[in-house]
Symmetry: C2
C-alpha cells in the first residue's frame, strides 16, 4: 500500500531528527541543555489557568467556527490599542498559529502556486506548504547583513505567473531579525505591483529588544486588501499547548474563504479561548517582565558567543532565537556529535542545525539556530559547553 | 485580489446556511427546536472537567505531536478491551476527529485523486476533500433500503486509476445506519482487490440501539495494512469543544506520514487530553445511560414521524440522526419556510435539508436530516410542530 507522494516528499522535522541521539545521551545519564526548540521555560500565568478552571458550562459544546465572539472582541481591542482599526469580524480564531498559516496559504493560492519566503525560515512553513500544495520559493538573506531583506530587484526576480504571496516573519524565527518599516513597505509595494498577498507572521511581535519597534503589516499604508496577519498566544503567554492562534484580514473574500475552511473543521478549542481572554487583560505587566528577561538572555548568549573564535552572528533584534555561523563544515554532524560524543561534567548542549531552515540545498550548512529559552545561569553554562565543543570538534575533525 | 479557486469552489456549510433565518425568527421572539445540528445536550461529565481543572504543570507546553503517551496508552487500552490488538504507536491523537480525517486523506491520496464515499454523507467530508485536493466520488445509498450499501458490482463500477480510498462511516451520520459485518467485509475485499485504503469513521461506535453491534474496521480480517480508523471524543463524552480525536492504523508508512503532518502543526491541545484520559476511565457507566436515553429519543422521533402522512424513513440503527423523506418538493425551501413563516404557540423547528449531504446534484431534495439531541419531551413537541408544518406547507404550496 503506497502512501501519497506529497507526504513522501514532505520534509521531516529537522529540529526533531536529533531526538533519538538526545534520548540516548539522556539514558547514559547526561544532562542536555535544550537550545534546539522554541519551548519557553517561563511559567504560564496563573490567571490563564484560573480562567480555564473557572469554565462552568454544562456542555463543553462546539463554539463558533470563527472563535467565541468575546475572544474576537478581545483580540480586536488588543489590536486597536495599537491603533490598527480592526473589528471583530476581521479576526478568525484558529487552532494555534499553525492553523492560521495553513488556512491563509490555502485561501490565497492553489495547488502548484508559488509563495516567496525569505530564508532561513521557520521549518514548518515547508510542512504547511506541502499540505496546501504550494511551492516555496526561497529569498536568500544572509548572516552578514543581519538577515535583512535584499533590495526590490532581488525579490522581483523571483516572481512568476504562479506567485501568489510573500510570507514574512518579523521578529523572525529563526534569525531574530526585525524587518524595518522600510522593508515592510517595500514588501507591500512589490505585492501591490504584482497582485500578491502578504502573509505576515507576527507571533513574536512583542519580543523586541533595545527599545526597537516592530512594524506590523497592519500599519503599512495600502496593505489592507492584500494582507493577512498571523498570530498566536503560544509565545506571548507561554501557552504553547493551548493551541490558540488567529488570523486578521480586512479582505472580505479572504475572511469568507477562511470561514469555509473553519466551518469544515468545526471550531478551535473552547476552554483555552477563555484562558486567552484573561491573558490579554494582564498582558502588559506579564510581557514587560518576560521581555526584560529575554533581553538579558539574548545578551548572555550573544556576548559569550562572540568570544568564541571563528563564531559569527549579528546581535538579534527580537524573538528568542539567533542563527550563528560556526567554524565547522557540517553543523548537522556537529550537533549530532555534541550529543553522541561530547560532554563536560556530564552535561552537553542540543542545538538545531540551520540547514533545515533553508529551502535552498546546502545553505546554512555551517550554521545553527539557538533558542534562548533557558535562564541566564543555564545559558552561561550551555554556551561555555558549546564553545568547548566547537574547539574539541575542530581539534578532531578540523 | 483573487482568492484561490479551491476555496471559491468549496461548499459552504449547508447546515449553517439557514442560520440567519433562525436568528431572525429568534429576534421575533420565536423559540426554535434545533434538530439541525449534532450538538448533544447531554452535560459533559464532571470528572472530565475536574481532570482539566487539576492540570498543574507550570508551563502549558507543547506536547508530543502524536499526543501524550498516556493519552495514546489510554486509547490503546480502550481498543484492546474490545480485542483489537492495538499498541500506542499505532495511535495518533489529533485536534478533533476533523483533523484525523484531513490527515488520513492527505496521507493516502494526492491532489486530483479520488475517494469513494457512500452518500448521503457528513457534509464536512466535502470540506476536508477540498483541503486535501481530492475528488469525492459518491456511492448512492437509498432510504428504501435503509441506506445500506449496494452490492459489490455497483461499488467497483466507480473505481478508476485515480481511486485511492473508500471512506465509510458506521454508525452513519446522517442516516443512522450501521453497516453489517458482511458489508464491512465486502468493503475490505474490494479495497484489497483494487489496492485502496479504507478510512473508517467510527465516531459513533457506541451509539447503537436494540442491542445491535457495530463492526469496526479493526476487526475485519485482512484489513490491517489498508485501514485507518478515525475517532473522536466529541460525541462519546459530549465534549465537542474539547477538539480531541485520533486515528488508528497498523500501516507503518501511514503512521510515519501522519507524523510528518502532525509535526508541522506541532501538537493537539494538551489539557483536553488529560480530560479524555479521565473520560475513558468512567466510560461504560456514562455511555450506558446516554445510549439508553438516545434510544428513547430515537423511538419518539421515529414513531411520531411514521404517523405523519407521506413521511418515510427506516428506523435508524445507531448514531443520533435520521434522514427522512418528506412529502414536499423542496426540503430546502420547506426548512427555510419553517423558520420564516411558521410557528405554533411561538415555537418552530429547525432541520437540515438533506440535499447538502449528497454529492450528486438534486439527490435528497425531498429529504431532511434530524439530529435528536433534545430530551424526549422537547422532541415530542418538536415532531408535532414539524408534522403540522408539513401539513400547512402542503396546503399552501402542495
Amino acid at each position: 500500500m503506497k502512501i501519497s507522494k506529497r507526504i513522501i516528499d514532505m520534509q521531516e522535522s529537522p529540529i526533531r531528527k536529533l531526538i533519538s541521539y538526545a534520548d540516548d545521551a539522556k539514558s547514559r545519564g547526561i544532562k542536555i541543555y535544550h537550545l534546539n526548540i522554541g519551548q519557553p521555560d517561563i511559567p504560564t500565568p496563573d490567571y490563564i489557568y484560573d480562567a480555564i478552571k473557572n469554565y462552568s458550562e454544562h456542555v463543553l459544546a462546539y463554539g463558533p467556527s470563527q472563535g467565541l465572539k468575546i475572544a474576537r472582541e478581545t483580540v480586536a481591542e488588543y489590536l486597536n490599542n495599537m491603533n490598527y482599526d480592526i473589528n471583530p469580524d476581521e479576526i478568525f480564531i484558529t487552532t494555534g498559529g499553525s492553523e492560521a498559516i495553513i488556512f491563509a496559504m490555502m485561501t490565497v493560492a492553489d495547488y502548484g502556486d508559488e509563495i516567496i519566503i525569505p530564508e532561513p525560515f521557520y521549518t514548518n512553513y515547508n510542512g504547511f506548504a506541502s499540505m496546501a500544495g504550494l511551492k516555496v520559493i526561497p529569498l536568500l538573506t544572509k548572516v552578514d547583513t543581519g538577515f535583512h531583506l535584499p533590495d526590490e530587484n532581488e525579490i522581483e526576480k523571483l516572481i512568476t505567473s504562479r506567485t501568489k504571496a510573500i510570507l514574512i516573519c518579523s521578529p523572525n524565527n529563526p534569525t531574530g531579525t526585525i524587518f524595518t518599516k522600510e522593508e515592510m513597505e517595500m514588501v507591500v509595494k512589490i505585492a501591490k505591483k504584482h497582485n500578491l498577498f502578504v502573509l505576515s507572521d507576527e507571533v513574536y511581535r512583542e519580543f523586541v529588544f533595545d527599545n526597537k519597534k516592530q512594524t506590523s503589516i497592519l500599519e503599512v499604508d495600502g496593505s489592507a486588501e492584500l494582507s493577512i496577519m498571523l498570530d498566536s498566544i503560544s509565545k506571548r503567554f507561554s501557552a504553547c499547548g493551548a493551541r490558540i492562534g488567529y488570523l486578521v484580514s480586512k479582505n472580505r473574500n479572504v475572511m469568507k474563504g477562511v470561514l469555509k475552511l473553519g466551518q469544515a473543521r468545526l471550531c478551535p478549542p473552547t476552554i483555552e479561548q477563555i484562558g486567552m481572554i484573561e491573558g490579554y487583560k494582564h498582558m502588559n505587566e506579564f510581557m514587560k517582565q518576560m521581555i526584560e528577561e529575554y533581553q538579558k538572555r539574548r545578551d548572555v548568549v550573544f556576548n559569550n558567543l562572540m568570544k568564541v573564535e571563528g563564531v559569527f552572528t549579528r546581535k538579534p533584534e527580537g524573538a528568542f532565537y539567533v542563527v550563528v555561523k560556526l567554524p565547522v563544515d557540517d553543523a548537522d554532524n556537529f550537533a549530532k556529535w555534541m550529543l553522541t560524543d561530547f560532554q563536560i561534567d556530564g552535561k552537553t548542549v542540543m542545538v538545531a542545525p540551520a540547514n533545515g531552515f533553508y529551502a535552498t540545498p546546502d545553505k546554512g550548512k555551517d550554521e545553527i539556530r539557538i533558542a534562548y529559552v533557558l535562564n541566564v545561569k543555564e545559558l552561561e553554562d550551555a554556551i561555555k559547553i558549546l564553545a568547548s565543543g566547537i574547539k574539541e570538534y575542530n581539534k578532531r575533525f578540523g
